[in-house]
C-alpha cells in the first residue's frame, strides 16, 4: 500500500466548498420536459376512427360512445377511453392518430383516491391536464402511415382529347397493393357509401392479392363493380381518414383493381350460380343501375325477373349519359352480362305506357320496381331557348353513345356545372370543337366531380364561372346561335344558405357559337302511371318519396334511382335497387335476409 493510496480519498474534501448537487427544499412542481409522454389529451378533431385502439399493444383503449356527441357520416361518435391500468405510455396511439387529435400532455403526476378515475375518455372527461400545451406530439417528419396516394397512370390531355380511349389506365397489381396497404381499415367510410360496401374488407383482399374474395365482397352490395370502379362519385373518399393528413385512399380505383383482375368468364364460378326459382315474379321498369341492381338481388333470392327497357341496350344513364372514355362499353357489359346470365330477362325497346301498360305489369307480377331515372333535360328558362342550335347535353351524349353525329359544329358553349355538362364539354372537345363552359356560380361550387373539372380544363375546355345566361338570339348564320350572358357577383344569403349569384347588368357579354349545349339538370317522366294510382303515391318536386324499403303508397310498387332520391348517382341507385329487393322479399313474405 502506497502513501498515495492512503491520502488520495481525502482529496475530495475540497468539494465541501462547492455548490452541492442537492436542492435545498423539496421540489413542489417539476414540469415534464416539453415532449414528455404524460397523460392523454384528445382534441375535437377526433372522428372516432379507432386506429389508436388498433395499434395499442396493451389493449388499453376502448372506443366508447360519448353522451351528447352524435355520430354523423365521417365521425363514428365514439371516442377513445384509456385504461391506465394497462397503458404503457408508448404513445403509438399518438403516432398513428389519423387526425392528429390525440396527444400526450407533459403532466405526469396525478393523485386521486378513486381508482376508476384512471379509466377515462380523453378530451371529453374533465381532466386537470386538458389545457396543457406541452407534451408529446408526433414530429412532422416522422410517419407510421403512408400519406401520399399511389398515382394512377392516365392518358395525357393531348392524347385523351383525340379519341374515346379510356383515360384512367387502372392500377398495376403492385400499385394497387401499395395503395391498398395505406388503408387503416377503420371502416368510417362504410356509412358514407350509399351502398355501404365492405370497403375495408375488399381493400384488404387487394392487399392480400385475393381477388376472388374481393369480388365476392363487392357483389354482396354492388353488382356494378366494374362500372363503379371507374365512375363512382366516391363519397367514401370524402370521409376517408387518410384524407386528414394526406390523400384519401383511392377506394374507387381499388374496386376497379379487383374486377380488372377477374375475367368475366370466371364470375359465375367465383360468385356461384346456384339460383333457384321460388315461383314468384317481379317486374322492373328501367334497365339502369337501379333496375339491374334490384334484378340481380331479386334473382339471387329466386324471383323470376323481367326488366322493361325503352332503349335498345341496358345500362341507362351509364350507357347513354357517361362517355366511353370514362366508362368503356365492354366494362359496363361485363357487369350487365353477368346479371343477365343468372336468368334475368330484359325486354328491350319496350317503353312502359307505349308498348305495355303499367296496369299490365301490376297484374302479371307479384311486385314492381320502378327506376326510370331522369331523362328529360331541364329548360334554361330564358328567352329564345327553342332555337334549333340549342341542344341538350343528354341528347349530345346519347347520340355519341349511339354512334350518331350530334352536329355540334366547331365552337360550342356548354351551360351548366354538373357531370353531364363536363361530359358534354369533353365529348365536344373530342369531336374537335372549341369549348366554353358557362356556370352561374364559382368553380368550387360546381356539382361535377373535381377530377372531371380538372381533366376538362386540362383537355382545353375554357371554364367561365359566375356567368348567367340571359337570352338566346338568332345569329347572322342559321347554323349559329348567339348567347347573351352577364357576369355574376356572389352575395351572401341572409337565411344562411349558400351564396347566391346576382346578375350584374352593367357587365353583359354577347358571343356567337355553332351551338349551345344546355346541361343544367334533368327531370323525370312518369305520365305512364295512371292518375288514380298516382294519388296514392307521395311526390315532392316531381320525384317519388318512397317509404321504408323503397315501398310506395301503392303497396306493390317499389321505386328507386335518380327519380326517387336526391343524390342522383349510380351508387345510390344501386343501393335503392338492393334495398328494394330486400323490401320486396319482406313484402312477399320472405325474411329480411336478402
Amino acid at each position: 500500500m502506497s502513501l498515495k493510496d492512503l491520502i488520495s480519498p481525502f482529496y475530495v474534501w475540497q468539494r465541501a466548498f462547492e455548490k452541492p448537487y442537492t436542492q435545498k427544499r423539496p421540489i413542489e412542481d417539476r414540469p415534464g420536459a416539453p415532449r414528455y409522454r404524460g397523460f392523454h389529451m384528445n382534441s375535437e378533431d377526433c372522428i372516432g376512427c379507432g386506429t389508436c385502439e388498433s395499434i395499442c399493444q396493451n389493449r388499453a383503449i376502448d372506443m366508447v360512445p360519448v353522451e351528447g356527441l352524435e355520430q354523423r357520416p365521417g365521425d363514428s361518435g365514439l371516442r377513445p377511453r384509456f385504461d391506465y391500468g394497462r397503458c404503457c405510455w408508448c404513445a403509438l396511439c399518438v403516432d398513428i392518430c389519423t387526425t392528429r387529435s390525440l396527444h400526450l400532455s407533459n403532466h405526469y403526476a396525478w393523485v386521486t383516491e378513486d381508482p376508476d378515475a384512471f379509466h377515462f375518455t380523453a378530451g371529453t372527461d374533465p381532466m386537470p391536464w386538458n389545457e396543457n400545451s406541452l407534451g408529446y406530439r408526433r414530429d412532422d417528419d416522422y410517419h407510421l402511415l403512408v400519406h401520399d396516394r399511389i398515382e394512377m397512370e392516365m392518358l395525357g390531355p393531348d392524347e385523351s382529347v383525340r379519341g374515346f380511349d379510356e383515360v384512367m389506365k387502372g392500377y398495376t397489381e403492385e400499385q394497387a397493393v401499395l395503395e391498398a396497404d395505406r388503408c387503416v381499415e377503420c371502416g368510417i367510410c362504410v356509412a358514407t357509401c350509399p351502398a355501404h360496401m365492405s370497403v375495408p374488407d375488399y381493400i384488404r383482399s387487394v392487399r392480400k392479392r385475393d381477388y376472388e374474395t374481393g369480388l365476392r365482397l363487392l357483389y354482396e352490395t354492388n353488382p356494378f363493380s366494374s362500372t363503379c370502379g371507374r365512375i363512382c362519385t366516391h363519397r367514401c373518399e370524402t370521409v376517408c381518414v387518410m384524407g386528414y393528413q394526406g390523400d384519401p385512399i383511392a377506394i374507387r380505383f381499388l374496386k376497379r383493381a379487383i374486377v380488372d383482375r377477374v375475367p368475366a368468364e370466371r364470375y359465375r364460378e367465383i360468385l356461384g350460380d346456384d339460383v333457384s326459382d321460388n315461383g314468384r315474379t317481379v317486374g322492373v321498369i328501367g334497365a339502369g343501375p337501379g333496375g339491374m341492381s334490384a334484378a340481380y338481388y331479386l334473382r339471387r333470392l329466386g324471383y323470376g325477373v323481367t326488366v322493361y327497357e325503352a332503349q335498345a341496350r341496358a345500362g341507362g344513364m351509364l350507357r347513354y349519359g357517361v362517355p366511353s372514355y370514362r366508362l368503356p362499353d365492354d366494362q359496363l357489359d361485363k357487369d350487365i352480362d353477368y346479371i343477365r346470365s343468372l336468368g334475368v330477362e330484359v325486354r328491350f325497346n319496350t317503353l312502359v305506357g307505349r308498348d305495355v301498360t303499367f296496369q299490365s305489369l301490376l297484374d302479371t307480377h307479384d311486385a314492381v320496381f320502378l327506376a326510370v331515372g331522369l331523362n328529360q333535360p331541364s329548360a334554361l328558362r330564358i328567352n329564345g331557348e327553342e332555337h334549333p342550335r340549342v341542344l341538350s347535353g343528354l341528347k349530345v351524349l346519347d347520340d355519341v353513345a349511339n354512334g350518331l353525329d350530334p352536329g355540334i359544329g366547331r365552337k360550342v358553349a356548354v351551360i351548366g356545372g354538373g357531370n353531364v355538362a363536363m361530359d358534354a364539354a369533353r365529348v365536344s372537345r373530342r369531336m374537335g370543337a372549341e369549348v366554353t363552359v358557362l356556370y352561374r356560380r364559382r368553380i368550387e361550387d360546381m356539382p361535377a366531380d373535381p377530377d372531371e373539372i380538372h381533366e376538362s380544363q386540362a383537355e382545353g375546355c375554357t371554364l367561365v364561372a359566375q356567368a348567367i345566361p340571359v337570352e338566346i338570339k338568332p345569329a347572322a348564320s342559321e347554323a349559329q346561335v348567339t348567347i347573351v350572358w352577364g357576369e355574376a357577383e356572389m352575395v351572401a344569403d341572409d337565411k344562411g344558405g349558400r351564396p347566391r349569384p346576382v346578375l350584374q347588368e352593367d357587365r353583359m357579354h354577347e358571343e356567337t357559337y355553332d351551338c349551345v349545349i344546355a346541361a343544367i339538370g334533368q327531370g323525370g317522366q312518369i305520365d305512364f302511371i295512371p292518375s288514380d294510382y298516382r294519388e296514392q303515391i307521395e311526390f315532392k318536386w316531381n320525384k317519388f318519396v318512397p317509404g321504408d324499403y323503397q315501398q310506395t303508397g301503392l303497396a306493390k310498387l317499389f321505386v328507386g334511382g335518380d327519380i326517387a332520391n336526391s343524390r342522383a348517382d349510380a351508387i345510390s341507385a344501386i343501393e335503392d335497387g338492393h334495398h328494394a329487393a330486400r323490401g320486396i322479399h319482406r313484402f312477399l313474405g320472405g325474411s329480411a335476409d336478402a
Partner: protein, 378 residues
C-alpha cells in the same frame, strides 16, 4: 466446462445454506444466490432466476412488428436503448429498410449516453458493494442528469421508446448539444473524484484485487464477452470488430487489462466511461442537423415482414447483446431470441467464481461481473 457440484453433507454441521436474494443481492436486480458455506467461505453457489420473468419472447410472437417496439425496452431495465436499437436493426435487416444517416448518428448518441448512464449506476454499485455508499450517491445523481437529457430527447426517463424501426422518433431538441456537453463535463469531473476515492482507495484495492479471476481459457468456454472478456486481455469489441451505426467513423480505444480480477474489470469499465464521453462529444459535434431521421415506412398497422432469419448484435455495457429473429412472411414474428451477456455471466460463470470466495465479497463479485437478471429471463 461444466463441473459437477461437490456433494456436501449438510447434516454434518460443518456447512451452512445461505440465500442471498432474491431481493437485489447487489444492485443488480432480483435474483438469488443459493450459497453453501463453510465458515464464511463459499463451497458451492447456485444461481436462481425467474423473479423477473415476463415472457417477452412469447409476448412478441403475438404482437405486430410495430407493437413490439414499445415492449422490447423493458427487457433490460437499466439499458432499454440497446434493446430498442437491436430490435429496430433486426427488423430493418429483414425488411431491407435503411435508417437514414441522421438517425444513425442520433442512435449512436443514444446508445453511448445509455452506456454512460448504465456505467454510472454500476459504478455506484461496485462502490456500495465494498462499503463506499457515498460513491453510489454521487454516481446515481449524475445518472439522473443523463436521464434528464433522455427525458427531453425521447419523452421518457427510463423507457425511452425512441429508436423505432426505420429511424428515430424525433429530432434532437433545441439546445440539446449544450446541455449534453454540460452534463458530460460534470460526469468527467465526477470520474476524477471517483478515481481518487475508489480506485486509489487501498480498501477497495485490497478487496477487489485477486477477486474472481477469470482465466483466459475460460473466456470462450463460458461464452464471456464485454469488459469481463477485455479485462482478461482479449482485444474484442463489436464496435470495432463488426462496426454498426456510425462507430466506424468515431475515434475510440478498446480498453483492456490483463489481471482479469474484479479490480481490473472495474478499471476497464471506468476507462470505458472516459471513452464513452469522448465518443459522445464526437457525436454531438457531428450529428447532422438536417435531413430525414426516418426511412419511408409501409403502413405499420399491417406490416408483413418477409420470411427470413438473422442475428444482429451490439456491444452493450456488459458484452454481446443480440437479437435473433425468425420471420415467416406474416404480420407476426415466428421467433425472437434475446441474447443477453448476463445469461452466462450470472449463472455459469458466477457459480464457478463464487466458490472459494467469502460471503462478504459475493455482492461485489457479482457487481464486478455487471449482471442484470432481466436479460437472463426475458
Amino acid at each position: 466446462m461444466f463441473e459437477p457440484t461437490p456433494q456436501v453433507d449438510l447434516s454434518s454441521g460443518k456447512y451452512l445454506k445461505l440465500w442471498q436474494g432474491p431481493q437485489h443481492p447487489g444492485i443488480t436486480g432480483n435474483m438469488a444466490l443459493e450459497l453453501t458455506t463453510m465458515g464464511d467461505e463459499i463451497v458451492d453457489c447456485k444461481t436462481h432466476v425467474g423473479y423477473l420473468h415476463r415472457g417477452f419472447e412469447k409476448l412478441m410472437e403475438r404482437r405486430t412488428f410495430i407493437q413490439n417496439f414499445p415492449i422490447v425496452c423493458r427487457i433490460a431495465v437499466p439499458e432499454p436503448t440497446f434493446n430498442e436499437y437491436l430490435y429496430a436493426a433486426v427488423v430493418e435487416e429483414l425488411t431491407g429498410i435503411e435508417s437514414p444517416e441522421r438517425a444513425e448518428w442520433i442512435r449512436t448518441l443514444n446508445l453511448e449516453l445509455m452506456r454512460l448512464a448504465s456505467y454510472l449506476m454500476w459504478l455506484g454499485g461496485i462502490g456500495a458493494a465494498f462499503g463506499q455508499g457515498t460513491v453510489y450517491q454521487w454516481t446515481v445523481t449524475h445518472r439522473d442528469y443523463i436521464l434528464d437529457l433522455f427525458e427531453e430527447m425521447t419523452g421518457a426517463r427510463v423507457y425511452h421508446m425512441y429508436i423505432v424501426p426505420g429511424g428515430v422518433r424525433g429530432r434532437l431538441p433545441e439546445g440539446f448539444e449544450e446541455r449534453c456537453n454540460d452534463v458530460l463535463n460534470r460526469v468527467e469531473k465526477l470520474l476524477f473524484d471517483v478515481e481518487k476515492v475508489l480506485f486509489n482507495n487501498f480498501v477497495f484495492k485490497k478487496r477487489t484485487k485477486g477477486l474472481g479471476v477469470i482465466a483466459p481459457e475460460m473466456v470462450d468456454q463460458y461464452g464471456i464477452t464485454g469488459p469481463n472478456q477485455r479485462a482478461a486481455g482479449f482485444v474484442r469489441d463489436l464496435r470495432r470488430d463488426a462496426p454498426y451505426l456510425v462507430y466506424d467513423q468515431l475515434e475510440f480505444d478498446v480498453i483492456t487489462a490483463t489481471e482479469s480480477d474484479a479490480y481490473a474489470r472495474s478499471w476497464v469499465r471506468y476507462q470505458e466511461m472516459h471513452q464513452g464521453i469522448r465518443m459522445l462529444r464526437q457525436c454531438l459535434e457531428r450529428t447532422p442537423r438536417e435531413g430525414p431521421f426516418q426511412a419511408r415506412m409501409p403502413n405499420v398497422l399491417h406490416w408483413e415482414v418477409p420470411a427470413g432469419e438473422t442475428y444482429v448484435k451490439a456491444e452493450c455495457t456488459r458484452g454481446e447483446y443480440g437479437y435473433y429473429m425468425v420471420t415467416d412472411g406474416s404480420e407476426y414474428v415466428r421467433r425472437v431470441h434475446v441474447r443477453g451477456p448476463s445469461y452466462t455471466h450470472a449463472i455459469a460463470l458466477m457459480e464457478k467464481l463464487a466458490v472459494g470466495t467469502n460471503i462478504a465479497d459475493t455482492a461485489g463479485l457479482m457487481v464486478s461481473l455487471h449482471t442484470y437478471p432481466p436479460e437472463i429471463e426475458r
